[in-house]
């Protein structure tokens, strides 16, 4: 029984990573109907920036803030940098292409992904980088026979707090309502006095920032990062987005968590090697029976 619990906690941890990345996908998709393939690379870049900060600022950070302080500082810095880069990428690679329609934007997003990924490789080199072990809190707990680390708990809590904050912004504030309204109907939203460009600015700030924080957490949790890792996480997060119903933010969060847990359970009780097959099978089955995802709404096409 304890093993099942452990697997579920592991699943939730990885699922919360997927969920945080998926939020970025979903926000961009909701408003722009663009699959932002570069989003996974925002996540990688965040992870590398956090790494750099920890390595080069390590002495300063640990003496002044302690280990946890270092973690938070790295996350915040990475988030700020990525917010800036996100807006930059949007201005440079996407904005000029919106008028031409969706498909060219997909290619442009793939191009942006290639550029970011290779820029990371050029800057940090092609090898794996390791978050310095001595800068990462490493305390084990054994609660009722369940093995868990404090870091894992912190990551879970932090992820849920971040998701909670985003949920609050999107669901409870007027600005969040403005974003949802823009996603539903851009023109009518502008009649309310909502500036479309500001909404875009916001989603390309917040999405990459969340991705960056996730990147730092992933770096902390696994210690090892590579310049290609965004692709894998991006694909899973995109899957989570669709699973939850594309453009639906709470759906994306649940989609991510469900995906993480499914993946872990699939690995544990079916086969580790076949777990991704299992995950994609579930996705396809879900879409066959619920063509708009688990939480997506059926939109009748007007004829």
């Amino acid at each position: 029984m304890q093993v099942v619990f452990e697997q579920i906690i592991n699943g939730l941890t990885i699922g919360s990573f997927y969920a945080l990345i998926a939020l970025g996908y979903s926000m961009v998709y909701g408003v722009l109907k663009l699959i932002n393939f570069a989003h996974g690379d925002f996540f990688t870049l965040g992870s590398y920036l956090g790494y750099t900060l920890l390595v080069f600022g390590s002495a300063f950070i640990t003496t002044h803030f302690g280990l946890w302080g270092g973690m938070v500082a790295a996350m915040l810095m990475a988030a700020m940098c990525l917010a800036f880069i996100g807006v930059l990428v949007e201005r440079a690679a996407y904005r000029p292409i919106y008028p031409a329609g969706r498909l060219p934007a997909v290619v442009s997003a793939l191009g942006a992904s290639i550029v970011l990924q290779n820029a990371i490789m050029v800057i940090w080199g092609p090898r794996y980088q390791a978050y310095p072990a001595k800068l990462i809190p490493n305390i084990h707990l054994n609660i009722w026979g369940i093995n868990i680390t404090v870091l894992q708990i912190v990551i879970l809590v932090l992820s849920f707090v971040l998701m909670g904050i985003l949920y609050y912004i999107i669901q409870k504030t007027v600005f969040g309502a403005a974003i949802r309204a823009t996603a539903l109907d851009k023109d009518t939203a502008s009649l309310m006095g909502i500036n479309f460009n500001k909404v875009i600015f916001f989603i390309f700030t917040l999405g990459p920032a969340l991705g960056a924080m996730t990147g730092v957490m992933v770096g902390m949790y696994y210690r090892q990062i590579s310049f290609t890792m965004g692709w894998n996480y991006g694909l899973k997060a995109f899957t989570a987005t669709i699973l939850g119903g594309i453009g639906n933010l709470p759906g994306a969060m649940f989609g991510g968590l469900i995906l993480g847990v499914l993946e872990m359970l699939g690995a544990a009780y079916i086969s580790a090697a076949w777990k991704d097959v299992f995950v994609f099978m579930i996705l396809i089955l879900v879409l066959i029976f619920r063509p708009n995802g688990l939480f997506g709404e059926k939109i009748a096409e007007k004829v």
Binding site: A177, M192, G193
Partner: protein, 249 residues
Amino acid sequence: MAPLLIIDDLQIHYGAIEALKGISLYLDEGEIVAVLGANGAGKTTLINAISGLLPISSGNVTLEGNRLNGIPPYEIVQKGISQSPEGRKVFSTLTVDENLNLGAYTQRKKKQEVGDAKERVFSLFPILRERRRQLSGTLSGGEQQMLAIGRALMSSPRLLLLDEPSLGLAPILVNHIFGIIREINSQGTSILLVEQNAHKALSLAHKGYVLENGVISTSGSSSELKSNRKIQEAYLGGSALKRKGNQTT
């Protein structure tokens, strides 16, 4: 006193299609002006051009002497014009409350005023208060129309643009909503009303314009228009019937 809204020789194109072929009209402060016409006559085009959703090919739209041409829609709202669009266009997955809050989006910093505006909307449409937590997509057509009007009122506009508020509503509801429109007007908001329901609109409006294929064919005070045989013909095709009758006999 100069008119509140002046439209001068306005032309709008959709690609190669000329939707408005140079129309002029004006609206005085405190007035209800009705724009009548059949489907495709260009009524919605006119309203969207005022709101800034459509680029103006030539001509001018001025509000109290300020030119509105080329100003994006979200700034037009700040200038005091808000629109209740055709087909209601409520944000269906948002609650009634959220829809109303968005109506006051430009004022969102002023908590007090937003609260007052909402109270005013609720007093006009008490049903919305009951439904404030409900997703607006689950409202009935009439309630959605009330929400759309209420939402437009939230920014406390000087000029309210109403696009087909009677569309798809049962006659009794139409009466109710038109009563409220009059009420809104009596509270001091000028209204530009676009309607297919000519009798209804003219019973409310101070004056009216009839749009046909992108040009204004007739205009005048409500009483003049109401007695005008041409209106009935424009709507029910009396002339064609006569012509047909002539041909067959």
